[in-house]
Every structure is written in C-alpha cells, then in structure tokens.
Amino acid sequence: MLAESTVQESMTKPSNPHIENAKNIFKRLKKNKAAMVGGFLILLFILTAFIGPFLVPYGAGEQNLVNKLQGPSAEHWFGTDHLGRDIFSRIIHGMSITLYIGFFSVFIAAIFGVVIGIVSGYYGGKIDTLLMRLMDVLLAFPGILLALGVVTILRPNLNNVILAVAVFSVPAFARIVRGSTLAVKELEYIDAVRALGAGDVRIIFRHILPNVFSPIIVQATLRIATAILTAAGLSFLGLGAQPPTPEWGAMLSDGRNYIFDAGHVALFPGLAIVVVVLAFNIFGDGLRDALDPKMKS
C-alpha cells in the first residue's frame, strides 16, 4: 500500500528531470572552491558593471588637473592619472565596457563557430574540407594580428573591436564543435533516431547540439577571458576604444608614459584586467570539470 502511494505521488507531481540534472551539475561545481571564487567574482563584476557607476564618487571623464598623477590615498583609492581623473572611478566605469566586449564578441563568435563546426562535422566531405581550411587560414594569423587587420580595415572603435575579436575566436569554436560532432554522430543513438526516420535538422538540433553543448559553454567562458585580453591589447595599441573612453587597455596605454614617476596609473588598470581574466579562466576550468561527460557513470 505504502509503495503504491509513493509511486502515485511521484507521478502526480513530476519533478522536472532536466532541472534535477542542472542541480547535479551545480552540486559538482560547488565542490570546486576555485571555480566558486571565480564564479562569485564574475557575478560581482556584472553587478559592478550595472550599479557601480552610480556609486563611485567621480565621473569617468571628471578632470582635476591640480591633483594629477597623485598616488593612492583615502580620497583617490587608486590615485589619479595625468589629467587628475580618479583611476578607481574610471576602472569601475570601464567594467561594463570590458564585460560588454567579452560577452558580446564571444556570443557572436560562438554562433558562427557552432554553425560552422556542426555543418562541417555532420556533413563532412567537401563542405568540411572547405570550411576547415578557411578556419586554418584564420588560425594561421596570430590572434592580435588578425584583430589588428580587421580593425584597421574597418575603423578603430568599440564595435569593430568586438567584431575583430569575434572573428579570431570563431575558429576555436568551430574546431571544438566539429570534433565533438564527429564523435557524437558516430554514436548508436544517432543511428537509432535515423532508423526511426528523423531528418538532419532534427538530428542536429535535438541530438547533436545538446551533446556538444558542454564543451561550447566551457570554451565560451575561457574565450571571454581571451577576448577581454585581446580587446585590451588593441586599445593599448590605440586601435580599440578611443580616449577618453575609460577602457582598461587604453588607460594602461596612458599610464605607460608615467610608468617610472607614477606607476599606479598603469598598475591598477593592468591589475583589473588580470583579475577579470583570471576569474573567467578559473571559472571556465571548474565548469569543464563539472560538465565533463564522464560524469554520467
């Protein structure tokens, strides 16, 4: 009687098995302390990007030439730059730009990369050869050089930086997705649904995509770090966000001239880049461990 009622109960209010699965992944992620720190920092960054600019005492372009190149103090936590602007406030203002570049460029790259990778891996043959050689061409350029080229052709501004960074991230996604697709499409369950009469579209969206999703997510997280770094590099070279935008790479570039007299002008934007990149990297690593397909056993 008792057993019957529990079966009845579990049937009347079914817990969503997919939510249960997500909970399990989160549980594994929680065990990884480094990843949790990374994840926590990322959340903090996002929060900062949204509400930070309203909390800091100075505006992003607020100059005070009397107080230029001052070291860190209670008044100016990270000191001031050559125009007397508060570096702490500028870094907080720059957070949203950094994250915008990181997320948006990776989002664009992921969409193109995943489409190219799946088509390449699933259909194979000539399409595969063509697409992969194209990716090889992109990969043959050093990332920053490729981004430089794209920005130079288009015009140095923030949106073109995003585009440039996206272009050089596409091959990374395409190759990973192609590899995973090749592995997944040989599995018997793909044959099973094909034997049931499923078409290519259904197989790709219902069966291949969900099973190559983990490497995509991990790659995206890690790629955000690379994208931020590359974008900062472009700005540093003067081909990214233009002054007076409080972009960290551009701030670093400004500070370069005073590196011996007032090292903090370059130091703090540099540290900010390091912390954000590190956070995304360790979170990505932790995510990879938690999403590892071997977890199923």
Binding site: P14, L187, E188, A192, G197
Partner: protein, 336 residues
Amino acid sequence: MTTKLLEVNNLKQYFPIKGGVFGRTVNHVKAVDDVSFYVNEGETLSIVGESGCGKSTTGRAVLRLDEPTEGDIQFNGENLLDLNKNDMRKKRKDMQIIFQDPYASINPRQTVRQVLEEAMAIQDVVPKADRVDKMMELLDTVGLGSHQLDRFPHEFSGGQRQRVGIARALAVDPKFIICDESVSALDVSIQAQVLNLLKNLQEQYNLTYLFIAHDLGVVRHISDRVAVMYLGRVVEIGEKEEIFDNPKHPYTKSLLSAIPVPDPSHKQERIVLKGDVPSPIDPPPGCRFHTRCPFATEKCRDETPELRKTETMTGTHEAACHYMEDIEAGRHKAAY
C-alpha cells in the same frame, strides 16, 4: 504458406579508403560482397560469423543506414533502394533496429519519456493525446515500471537500457526488427531475460527478426534459420537444426566445434583454423576461405563456389563449398 518479408539479392557494401593529399579513393573495403538471403514473415534469421565478417554491415545496409553499393533489398515486395529519401523515411516505420551497446544507443540528455515521445512523433503513429498511454503500455511490455518514465539513461542498468531501446523500436509498431548484437554486451543472466523478452514480443506482435550475433548459444536459442558469413559472404544458410546438426561447410564446422559442451566425458574434435582472417580490402580470389581451409585445393583458389544443395541436406539448407560430397564420403582429406 510462408511469405518472404525481406529478400536481399546480391548486396554489396564497399567502403572507399581515401588516401593521398587530395583524398582520392585508393581502394575499397569490401565489407559485404554479393550477399543474398531472405527472411520469412514471423521468423528469425540469424547471421553469425566472426568479427569483421560483415554481419553488422549487412544489417545496416538493409536499413539503409549506410547506402549499399549494389544489390536490391525487397521489403514487402518493394525495393528499398528505389525509394527516395522521403519515402524511405516513411518506410522506416516498419523496420527498426536494436543496437549492441545499451550505453551508446540512447541519447544521454533525453529521458525515457522524450525518447519514446520522439519515436512516435517522427512517424506520427499515435495521436498526441494517446502517447502517454502508449508509453506506459510500452514500458509495461518491455518490463519497466511507469515510474521510470522520467529517468535519464544513466539511472538505468545495462539490461534496463536495452529494454528502453526495445521499447523505442516497438514504439512505431514495426513489422521487422534487426537485432544487431543486441544481447552481446549484457551479462549472461540478463541476456537470457532479454532474449526471452524478444521471443515473447515476436509471438505477441508477429515480428520478424534479423538477428546478428556471434554467440552460437544465443543463436541456437532464438533462431529459426541461420546464415553463416565469412569475409563478406554467406558460406552456409539453412534451418537452425540443419546448420547445427548437419553442417557442410568446413568453416561452419570449425565454428561449431568451438562451442563448449558442458560434459567432461564428451570427446570433442576441435577444428582449429590456422592463420587470421584475410583483409577485406584485398580478399582472396575464388573461395574466400581457401587460405585457412584444411581441404583447400587449386580449384578453391580459382573458382568461387556458389551456394548449393547436396542430397544429404534438407529444407532450405545450402552451402558454398566445392568439396561437400567428397569430404562427407571421405574421399577428400584434410591437409592438417
């Protein structure tokens, strides 16, 4: 009168080997080379043979999971190879496959509900409103509980997963099921359960099986007729009793002599073959078995033996050997 549900004629499945810088086709793996057989409605035909002999490839070719190179496949009087993609898709409702590896044959991201729902949705066999009832019925049929409907594959054991695979195949009400080594990956005790389940389902739904296996004990248990394959060809085919008790082809004999007999006083003449299976890229001319056959002669090297029947064979029993009568009469002796 029995009717042939499936008839395969001169089936060839060659896989190209790409080589060189430009990916030219340099050669072919002749995985299945001129194979013909038929399966009567409601019966079980087993295909046996060692690994790499083309059993699974034959099964996959019949379902057009790989496009066959040549031949024709008559299913219910219709040549499957003439059908276009769309018609073939509809035809797939009638023919299903159960795979070997229960761990790889179900999408790990789908629950049993989704697996079964999708099967019915693709072929649109059951109206949407009745699908849940049908799922419950299917689970009950294959011996799973309805409370297991919302579970993921990794929550099941191997035997249970195989039952899910069977339920998926049954979801579209097929007439014909290919069991591709369907019990090989299971424990012996579970094997027996799944085999009995398959047998019951056959009676219940009048299913026709093409059973691909390498375990002769399993084959003996489930088959009506047996085809023995060697290196892409059928060397002997016939009723189960004939194949097991009256084998004619030297290869079949050696294969059968490998079955252990659970009787310590039983003196068994074990025929051990020499050498390895030759490569299917460049199979030996004439009789493909001549490189390992103790009875082989010049003739075997030059002439390809056809499947034929001798006086001592009954039923549909046929074998492909030049020297069947001579070996039987003792006129032709083994070389080793």
